[in-house]
Symmetry: C2
Subunit: 437 residues, 2 copies
């Protein structure tokens, strides 16, 4: 770790949005205490941001250089560690590569960049002996990446799964609590700052898929690509699904799952599950996140906490900077950044190997023979019905009912759905959700 | 990290009980894979244990030296890292001091020793530049110590609490599920291996206090002593307490709590709490453990997992050995073993500062005026009653009833209890439990 002659590690920050601002504040507030109690001296040397002149905050330290020239922060000889909080692919990727190339350690919370180019960045960090801190990129302040890198090395992880998107979890728990429709609750979430103006990446599963790719690399040592992760959003859930969930002793949760299938390949998906009300994950509500890890010898372990927001993310970034200042960051010592000597190629398992009981919900225009048609198609595909639920309903033109299935493979269910979807009585396309503990 | 010329890190194991045996097996099973995938070569060089001749297991490796002379394992020039799984204070303390004194890194799961002499051992490790791995000493495989040491450095922890004793949690959840009495359930726990033949250290709170002392040192950087932790066992809970808990929407959990009081001093206790059924901790059942961390900027974070048992503890020990082999262990690099440059002295807060709503349960020999007496004493001590519950009961000679209190300080309640205990109608001494979220 390079540092100035007084042993102070000088931080260059690029990006000054919500998290960047929170990081600069927590560093200004905690810096002296870190020096006294943790034996680590940190100072903010430079901030690179658009409109730097208007953002200059003297409370963050007298000696801070403010600039619009982001590359000048990276090349600044007074900067030892670069903290990247811009988000997005470019210019973040180029700036991080420049920093690592110059042997400077980097801390980033940029999940999209790490999901797309993280393996290359981590190879570059190892090659240059620079640290690359990524803890804040997944589940905000929950120290799950460090745990996977350092604490599960004595076991073989068999599954890692979690509630990784706070927006989805907020919307689902609000729909459950209030009985309101998705579109209404989304508006509330946007007003409260829990959802972006364009929520597509959150509610469609892309955001959780970025995080799952990072988790799965650390858990399994395989080079998981975002594109290998099957995704289904939460937008098709209706208020009646929450009524049926309750009747089944369950609650809907968007889960990102990476699990070793019997073939040894990885099952990778982001989708809504009906989880049992007795599970810890059912108690993870609102904008909270949780990650569950199962190993051959241990587990299940569950880590839960606030998954996003300026302060939790900023403190996770600061913890990585402290680790780098202590010379302990992965990449900067004899520890591969992902905990594995090298990542193996990843082959995803097929839906043949995804076997689960399922919840099927139909909204139909009532006529005789609907259940007979469904039962016949399911039977033809070798699928066993567990139970049928139908609440009494006035409106025969849009009648909801539910069929639960005994464990069935995703492939068999998909085959059945080709035939089911072609039936003429659907008012909205039918919904299939796995039911898990 | 010293190692043999081929880069293999050679492990000397002292202690071959449940955890020692599990560690040797997991090392034999995972060793080759660790070399291939993690880039860390480990071998078991020596095992020191009483009755070594009868325990020799060729499945653990051909080159293992078996001996009854524990000190010879520590001084063996073929041993780079010492794994201590004896338990107890001596000879473990002397052997670990000898290893660290010789600059050899040590991994231990010995919570009692670490609680009593951990600060001195960690000072010695730092002085000698040796690693000291202690993750397995608290909550088995839950990587909570590493998280406190490395992941909460960007925040200030305000409270750490948890379900740290699997025996107590098993007994409490069994009593809740079956309605049976403590003594009966204890016998089951002993039969199932969840409780020792002498359960005193578990059910009385000592075991949880050892672990809390370690957690609190890492969380707050203060030199917490076990003797500063107030302890109350689970042995006085009766089946009726579980009935009333349910009526109050709560469940009894033995919680170890270290929390910064308004004065800045630490509140330290191990006792049974009535926790809300909506909390994550209420979902931690059977032999599972959980730790909750709150910080100024983040939290609450909850970490849950299997708290004990051979395999989870053994994998936590192995993860520490891997970290040492990578040169990343605290003590072995520029990182203080507890995450703090030095521990400050700890002054415990007084019970004045422990303010909580309380559950009071009485079993009385019925006569007129009991509630009037109680209400008068509580009022004289400035304590407000929230509610009174009394189930109809046939047996007037041993009548249970419950009074819940609005938030009250531990000191005020203790003063009231001096007077309450002197009343003549108690069949068993009354019980007071804090009610927490």
């Amino acid at each position: 770790m390079k540092s100035d002659p007084e042993g102070i590690v000088r931080v260059g920050l690029i990006g000054f949005g919500t998290v960047g601002r929170a990081f600069a504040r927590v560093l200004a507030r905690e810096g002296a205490d870190l020096g006294l109690r943790r034996g680590v001296s940190l100072s903010l040397a430079a901030v690179g941001t658009r409109g730097a002149a208007g953002k200059h905050d003297p409370g963050l330290g007298a000696g801070v250089r403010w600039t619009e020239d982001l590359a000048s922060v990276v090349s600044d000889p007074d900067v030892d560690v670069v903290v990247e909080l811009l988000g997005g692919i470019e210019p973040a990727n180029g700036l991080i590569r420049a920093a690592l190339g110059a042997g400077k350690s980097v801390v980033t919370a940029n999940k999209m960049l790490l999901a797309r180019h993280g393996t290359a960045l981590q190879d570059l960090a190892s090659e240059k002996g620079a640290g690359l801190g990524i803890e804040a990129a997944v589940a905000g302040g929950i120290p799950i990446l460090r745990a996977l890198r350092s604490s599960f090395t004595g076991d073989r992880v068999t599954a890692v799964s979690g509630i990784l998107n706070g927006t989805c979890n907020f919307i689902l728990t609000e729909m459950e609590a209030t009985g309101r429709a998705y579109a209404e609750v989304l508006k509330d979430a946007q007003r409260l700052g829990y959802a972006e103006a364009d929520p597509a990446s959150d509610v469609g599963g892309d955001d959780a898929a970025y995080k799952l790719a990072l988790l799965a690399r650390l858990a399994f040592g395989r080079d998981v690509s975002v594109d290998q992760i099957a995704r289904e959003g939460i937008t098709r859930l209706l208020p009646c699904d929450f009524v049926y969930a309750k009747r089944l002793g369950r609650t809907p949760r968007q889960l990102a799952v990476a699990r070793v299938a019997p073939s040894g390949h990885l099952l990778l998906s982001v989708r809504t599950h009906f989880v049992s009300e007795t599970s810890l994950l059912a108690k993870v509500t609102g904008p909270f996140n949780a990650v569950e890890v199962r190993g051959e010898s241990g587990g299940p372990f569950v880590f839960s906490g606030r998954g996003a927001g300026g302060d939790p993310t900023a403190t996770a970034v600061l913890a990585d900077v402290v680790e780098i200042a202590r010379g302990g960051a992965p990449g900067a010592r004899n520890a591969p950044p992902l905990g594995f000597a090298r990542l193996e190629p990843c082959t995803p398992a097929t839906s043949d190997e995804f076997v689960s009981p399922f919840y099927l919900r139909f909204i139909v225009s009532d006529r005789p023979g609907i259940l007979a048609d469904l039962a016949r198609i399911l039977a033809e595909n070798g699928i066993n019905i567990d139970a049928v639920f139908q609440a009494p309903y006035e409106d025969k033109s849009a009648l909801p009912f539910v069929v639960t299935l005994e464990p069935v493979s995703g492939r068999a269910l998909a085959a059945a759905f080709v035939a089911i979807n072609s039936l003429g009585f659907h008012v909205v396309p039918p919904l299939a959700l796995p039911m898990t503990e």
